[in-house]
C-alpha cells in the first residue's frame, strides 16, 4: 500500500536512529507535517525542536554537524529553502557542515493553501549553492533507500519530499543510487526526463504515447545535482528530443539544467514542463497538475507537440 514519502522517510530515519546515536532529527514546529511525533517520543535525546525559526533550525543543525552529529533538519520545503537560505549557504555549504536538509511537503503539495506554502524555487536556489547535493525521490521504496544512503553520504544534502501519497514507480528489487538516473521505459522517438513525485505521471504519459504509436523513452532523475549527464546526453543523441518534467518553476530547475547541458553538448528540441512564472490558480495538488498540464494526459500532449517540432526540424 503506497503512502506519503515524508511518512516513509521518518519511519526509515527512526529505524536508523535507534542504532546510530549520531543521527539527530530537528524540527521547526514541523513535527506534524514531517510526521516526526513518533521519533520525538521514542528518541527524545536525538530530537531537537527549535520552534518556528527556520534560520535557527539550520544554524543549530550546522553546529551539531560540526560536533560529529548527523542532523536531519526537517521543515516545510517552502520555508526551509527560502527563509534559511543564507544559513544554508554559509553555515552549511560554505562551512562544510554535513547537514541533511529535508524539505517536507515540497512543490505544490500544500495545494490550495496557496503560493506562500508552495516551494517552486527551492531547486533553483539549492542547486546554485556550491557543494549541496539535491535529491528528489519518486516513490516510497526510493525514499527509504535514499534515506539510508544519506546517513554516511559526504557533504550537505537537500532532499525534497511530497505531502500526498506517492504512487509506486519502482519494483521491490530496485536499487537507487544518488546521482544516477534510471531508464524506466525504452523508446527512440523522444525522451521524457522527470524528477521527484512527477516521475509516475511521466511514466504514465509514456504509456499513453505508446497507445498512440509513439515510442517515448522515460528517464527518472532522483538527483538534480550532481546531474547524471550521461543518461541525458545518451537520450538526446538517441531520441533527438527531450521533455523535462518537474514540480517547480520553469526557471532554475531540472529543465534549466538540461537546457544548459544540451546547449553546451548536444542541442536538440526541448520542452520544459513545470509551473509558469506567475501566481498559480487555487487548487489542490492534483487540480494544479491538471491545470498546468503536468498530469499524464497533459504531459503526453506536450510530448506530441515536441515530436512535431522534432520532425519539423528534421524535414
Amino acid at each position: 500500500m503506497e503512502r506519503p514519502n515524508r511518512r516513509v522517510f521518518t519511519e526509515t530515519l527512526l529505524t536508523l536512529a535507534k542504532n546510530d546515536r549520531r543521527i539527530i532529527a530537528l524540527a521547526s514546529d514541523s513535527r506534524g507535517s514531517a510526521t516526526l511525533n513518533e521519533f520525538a517520543a521514542e528518541l527524545p535525546e536525538q530530537f531537537v525542536e527549535v520552534g518556528i525559526a527556520e534560520q535557527n533550525l539550520v544554524g543549530i543543525a550546522a553546529g551539531m554537524a560540526k560536533c560529529g552529529k548527523i542532523p536531519f533538519a526537517c521543515s516545510p520545503a517552502c520555508f526551509l529553502s527560502m527563509r534559511s537560505v543564507e544559513q544554508i549557504k554559509t553555515d552549511v555549504a560554505y562551512s562544510g557542515a554535513n547537514v541533511r536538509l529535508i524539505g517536507i511537503s515540497g512543490g505544490v503539495s500544500y495545494g490550495a493553501l496557496g503560493s506562500t506554502h508552495h516551494s517552486l524555487q527551492d531547486l533553483a536556489v539549492m542547486q546554485a549553492i556550491p557543494g549541496i547535493t539535491v535529491i528528489l525521490p519518486a516513490d516510497n521504496r526510493e525514499t527509504a533507500m535514499l534515506t539510508r544512503q544519506l546517513v554516511d553520504y559526504p557533504g550537505p544534502v537537500y532532499m525534497r519530499l511530497g505531502r500526498e501519497t506517492a504512487p509506486r514507480v519502482y519494483a521491490d528489487d530496485f536499487q537507487p543510487e544518488i546521482g544516477k538516473g534510471t531508464l524506466l521505459l525504452p523508446g527512440d522517438d523522444l525522451t521524457i526526463v522527470a524528477t521527484g513525485e512527477l516521475v509516475r505521471s511521466a511514466l504514465d504519459a509514456g504509456y499513453l504515447l505508446r497507445q498512440a504509436g509513439i515510442a517515448g523513452r522515460v528517464v527518472a532523475l532522483n538527483t538534480l545535482k550532481p546531474l547524471d549527464t550521461e543518461i541525458i546526453l545518451t537520450a538526446a543523441r538517441e531520441t533527438g528530443a527531450l521533455l523535462t518534467v518537474e514540480e517547480h518553476s520553469i526557471y532554475g530547475g531540472v529543465g534549466s539544467r538540461v537546457a544548459q547541458l544540451l546547449g553546451e553538448c548536444c542541442p536538440v528540441p526541448l520542452t520544459i514542463a513545470g509551473f509558469p512564472d506567475e501566481p498559480l490558480v487555487t487548487g489542490n495538488q492534483e487540480e494544479l497538475f491538471r491545470h498546468y498540464a503536468l498530469d499524464a494526459a497533459g504531459l503526453a500532449e506536450k510530448a506530441k507537440g515536441l515530436l512535431r517540432r522534432k520532425q519539423a526540424t528534421r524535414r
Binding site: 535525546e45 544554524g59 553546529g63 551539531m64 560536533c67 544559513q87
Partner: protein
C-alpha cells in the same frame, strides 16, 4: 544537572595538562597585557599591508580575544579537531584580524601565513572560514554565529561532554532577528555550557548604534530571554578573566557577558570614531598608530 556540572569540572581539571587554557603556567595579567598590545600591533599591520579590513571592531575585541585564547579556552593547536576542545565562534566575523593574529601566535598555523591576509590565493580571507585551522565555522554574515554555537552546545549536552562554547557578537549585530531565535533556544534548552560575549562598542558602519537601530537595553533584553547577564569593562583584563572564570554564572542558564568597549581601542585618533569601522590608515597614520602601540615586540613580523 548539577551532578553533571560537578563531573565536568573534575573532567576539565583532570585533563588540564594537555589543555592550553588550564596549563599550570597561566599567564600573569601583565603578560596578557603584553599579548593584547602585540595583537593590536598585528591588527594594524595586517590591515595596513592588505589595504583593507575592519580595524575599529577588531581593536575593540582584542582584550576579550586575548583573555579567551591565552587564559580561558581549552584547545590543542596541534590537534585543532580535538573533540573535547572548547569551541569559539567569532560571529562578528569582520573582526578577524585579531583572531588570526592570536591563532597564529598560539600555533594553529605559521606566523608567515599572516602575510597572506586578503592577498590573492591567500588562506586568510577578510572573514573567517574553517579551512583556517582553529576556525570552527564560516562567519561574516552577521547574526549566524549564536545559532551555530547553540547547536554545538546542545550537541555537547546531548553527549555529556565537558566542553564549552564561546561566541563573540557585536552590538550592531543584535539587530539581526536570528540572534534572538538563538537566544530563545539556548535558554529553552538550559545551555549553561554556552557563553555569549557582546563586544559592545556602541558604533557600527553608519554611525552610533543608538541612532542606527537602538539595541539597548541589552541586559534587560537578554535577561528576559532567560540568560544570566553580567556587564563588564571589555578592556579590563582582570575583570574579563574574573568573570569568565565563573562560567556558568547560573546552573541551567546560558551566560551572557556585555563587554563595554571602545571602537578603535588603543589608537587615540581611531577611538570612538565610526569612520574607522573599515577605513585603512595611510602611511602617516600607520606610523603614528604604531608609535602609540609601542613599537615592534619580539617574535612579531616586521612591518
Amino acid at each position: 544537572m548539577p551532578w553533571e556540572l560537578a563531573r565536568n569540572a573534575i573532567l576539565r581539571k583532570k585533563t588540564a595538562k594537555g589543555w592550553c587554557g588550564l596549563k599550570e603556567d597561566k599567564m600573569a595579567l601583565s603578560e596578557l597585557a603584553q599579548k593584547a598590545l602585540a595583537t593590536r600591533r598585528e591588527v594594524l599591520r595586517l590591515i595596513y599591508r592588505a589595504g583593507a579590513g575592519h580595524i575599529g571592531g577588531a581593536l575593540s575585541a582584542v582584550d576579550l580575544l586575548v583573555v579567551l585564547f591565552y587564559d580561558v579556552l581549552n584547545y590543542r593547536p596541534e590537534e585543532p579537531d580535538w573533540p573535547l576542545r572548547d569551541r569559539f565562534i567569532l560571529s562578528k566575523g569582520h573582526s578577524c584580524e585579531g583572531y588570526y593574529a592570536i591563532l597564529a601566535d598560539r600555533g594553529f598555523f605559521p606566523r608567515e601565513e599572516l602575510a597572506s591576509f586578503m592577498k590573492y590565493q591567500g588562506k586568510l580571507m577578510g572573514h573567517p572560514h574553517p579551512k583556517v585551522p582553529g576556525v570552527e565555522i564560516a562567519t561574516g554574515s552577521l547574526g549566524h554565529g549564536l545559532s551555530v554555537a547553540t547547536g554545538m552546545a546542545l550537541a555537547g549536552k546531548r553527549d555529556h561532554l565537558p566542553y564549552r562554547v564561546y561566541c563573540l557578537l557585536g552590538d550592531g549585530e543584535l539587530a539581526e532577528g536570528s540572534v534572538w531565535e538563538a537566544a530563545m533556544a539556548a535558554a529553552h534548552y538550559g545551555l549553561d555550557n554556552l557563553v555569549c560575549l557582546i563586544d559592545c562598542n556602541g558604533l557600527q558602519i553608519s554611525g552610533p548604534t543608538r541612532q542606527v537601530m537602538n539595541t539597548q537595553p541589552l541586559a534587560a533584553k537578554w535577561e528576559a530571554f532567560g540568560w544570566e547577564v553580567r556587564e563588564i569593562d571589555g578592556h579590563d583584563l582582570q575583570q574579563i578573566k574574573q568573570n569568565l572564570d565563573q562560567i556558568p554564572f547560573t546552573i541551567g542558564r546560558p551566560s551572557l557577558v556585555i563587554a563595554r568597549t571602545v571602537k578603535g581601542k588603543g589608537i587615540s585618533f581611531m577611538e570612538n570614531d565610526y569612520h574607522w569601522h573599515h577605513k585603512v590608515p595611510n602611511s602617516e597614520e600607520y606610523a603614528r598608530a604604531l608609535k602609540e602601540l609601542e613599537g615592534v615586540g619580539p617574535g612579531e613580523i616586521g612591518a
